[in-house]
């Protein structure tokens, strides 16, 4: 389980996270929603150890990763898979090499095993035959799927998704969401996703948390969030202008 307690972070006097508390259940898909620029990605970067908080704790199975560095932090990160907003594929490598990279460098598997796993991972995301293409040669949706394949190929326990559908058309948004849901059913990883895809995200989430002004102001199953009488949540999921201010 991931437990976040009293997380605070400011950048140059601008408080982005103001005592954020959250519990992420093991094996569930937890989605953090909130307006653009509201600190969702900053929060996710704390979880994966790319940003250190000013205060607060991030407990992963009881270990405070906010206090870790070097090898102990890397040991925790080996349990992670991360899908970045832009995919973050290595543009000097082909799609196949991108997916193979963590297997070769992280797990140091033999070449035959790597080939087998890469083929399987790309097959799972419906991308057979793109192994030799470079990221610049495939579409945005395909790049996202390659990024998902790369994040999942090492069979991580916890997968973080940073707005995995940003910039995609509505059909592709649903395709990627269904893909994540299918992969989750198969592998049962713990997923933490930040997104502002309303209402599509309610289809796949087990738990939805609303981030507003640096805190989680509401959290619950999708149905409960959709029926919430919290003014901020209602305004946000209905897309009313006040919520964006």
């Amino acid at each position: 389980m991931i437990k976040v307690e009293g997380l605070r972070k400011s950048f140059g006097g601008n408080a982005v996270l103001r005592g954020l508390d959250l519990e992420v259940p093991t094996g569930a898909i937890t989605v953090i929603i909130g307006r653009s620029g509201g600190g969702k990605s900053v929060f996710l970067r704390h979880l994966i150890g790319l940003v250190r908080p000013d205060a607060g704790r991030i407990l992963v199975d009881g270990v405070d990763v906010a206090q870790l560095g070097g090898r102990p932090l890397d040991d925790v990160r080996r349990r992670y898979g991360v899908v970045f907003q832009g995919g973050a594929l290595f543009d000097s490598m082909t799609c196949g090499e991108n997916v193979a990279f963590p297997l070769r460098e992280k797990l140091r598997l033999p070449r035959a095993e790597i080939t087998k796993r890469v083929d399987a991972a790309l097959g799972q995301v419906g991308l057979e035959g793109v192994e030799t293409k470079y990221p610049a040669e495939v579409s945005g949706g395909m790049r996202k799927r390659v990024a998902i394949a790369r994040a999942l190929v090492t069979e991580p326990e916890i997968v973080f998704f940073d707005e995995p559908t940003t910039g995609l058309d509505p059909v592709l948004v649903n395709t990627i969401h269904q893909l994540i849901a299918d992969l989750h059913r198969r592998h049962r990883f713990t997923a933490v996703m930040v997104s502002h895809e309303i209402p599509e995200i309610f289809e796949i989430a087990d738990l939805v948390g609303m981030l507003y002004e640096g805190r989680i102001v509401a959290i619950g199953p999708p149905a409960a969030i959709q029926a919430s009488d919290n003014r901020i949540v209602r305004q946000f999921i209905r897309g009313e202008p006040e919520a964006a201010q």
Partner: protein, 264 residues
């Protein structure tokens, strides 16, 4: 004295203190970046593929520009030094004058400046783009050290290729001086090379060698650091690339003067 006027009086000291803290912190980051890269360079696992790629990127692909600048530098030196020496009737010293100028100063400095312009700027831009597109973050969250994959191979390649580039520059430059002095202006080949053997010793070659190694470290260190700490977007990459080239070039000239005064 009121509180506000005291604050106004102290304001310059406040600014100076803030600037001093910023400077010390920046130098600390800059220094620890190199230490971290050197540790990654000498500790396993070694990334031989990345080393070879960087040697190709920094060294082999700079060969043409090194050949061109080396040849024309030697030719210009040959012409100008010949014309100067001929005023004193000392044309016989053209060979050592060209060789010493190139081996001790111009070879290491110009080769380093050329490689900075061609490969250093590209290095900063490449790493900068990896930073803003989260590729470096992707490496980090895979528990793989970006220092080991991106920085250490570049610095190692700098240490290896700069002396090689400099020695190629030296040979071509001396040959350029020969072309002008001997083939064009009529000095005898024996005089050109004979006097060179008398005046140029191993100390001169070693000075150029140590300079080129230190320039290799400076250029790759500055350029990778600037790429790593790039600002936002395309503008940030452009600014970092410019800063890397300017800073590398200035440091090359400053360090050249310093080494010239402390080494024999």
């Amino acid at each position: 004295m009121t509180g506000s006027s005291a604050a106004a009086l102290l304001r310059p000291f406040d600014l100076l203190g803030g600037w001093a803290i910023w400077l010390v912190a920046s130098l600390g980051r800059f220094g620890s970046f190199l230490v971290e890269a050197l540790v990654a360079m000498v500790s396993p696992p070694f990334k031989f593929g990345a080393f070879v790629d960087r040697i190709n990127f920094i060294g082999f692909r700079s060969l043409l520009i090194i050949l061109l600048t080396g040849a024309f530098t030697g030719m210009v030196l040959g012409l100008q030094i010949f014309l100067t020496l001929s005023r004193f009737g000392s044309e016989a010293f053209l060979g050592p004058a060209v060789a010493l100028s190139i081996i001790r100063e111009l070879g290491p400095v110009l080769a380093a400046l050329m490689v900075t312009g061609r490969a250093g700027s590209a290095l900063t831009a490449e790493i900068g783009i990896m930073r803003i597109t989260e590729q470096i973050d992707a490496l980090t969250v895979m528990a793989l050290s970006p220092m080991r994959y991106l920085v250490a191979p570049s610095i190692f390649a700098g240490i290896l290729t700069f002396p090689l580039m400099t020695s190629i520059f030296d040979v071509i430059g001396i040959f350029g001086g020969y072309l002008v002095g001997v083939e064009l202006l009529g000095l005898s080949p024996g005089t050109y090379f004979g006097e060179m053997q008398s005046f140029v010793d191993i100390g001169d070659v070693l000075l150029g060698f140590w300079k080129s190694i230190s320039f290799g470290i400076i250029v790759t260190w500055v350029c990778t650091y600037k790429g790593f700490h790039v600002g936002h977007g395309a503008e940030g990459v452009a600014r970092a690339t410019t800063q890397a080239v300017v800073m590398s070039s200035v440091l090359i000239l400053v360090w050249d003067y310093f080494l010239g005064t402390v080494l024999p």
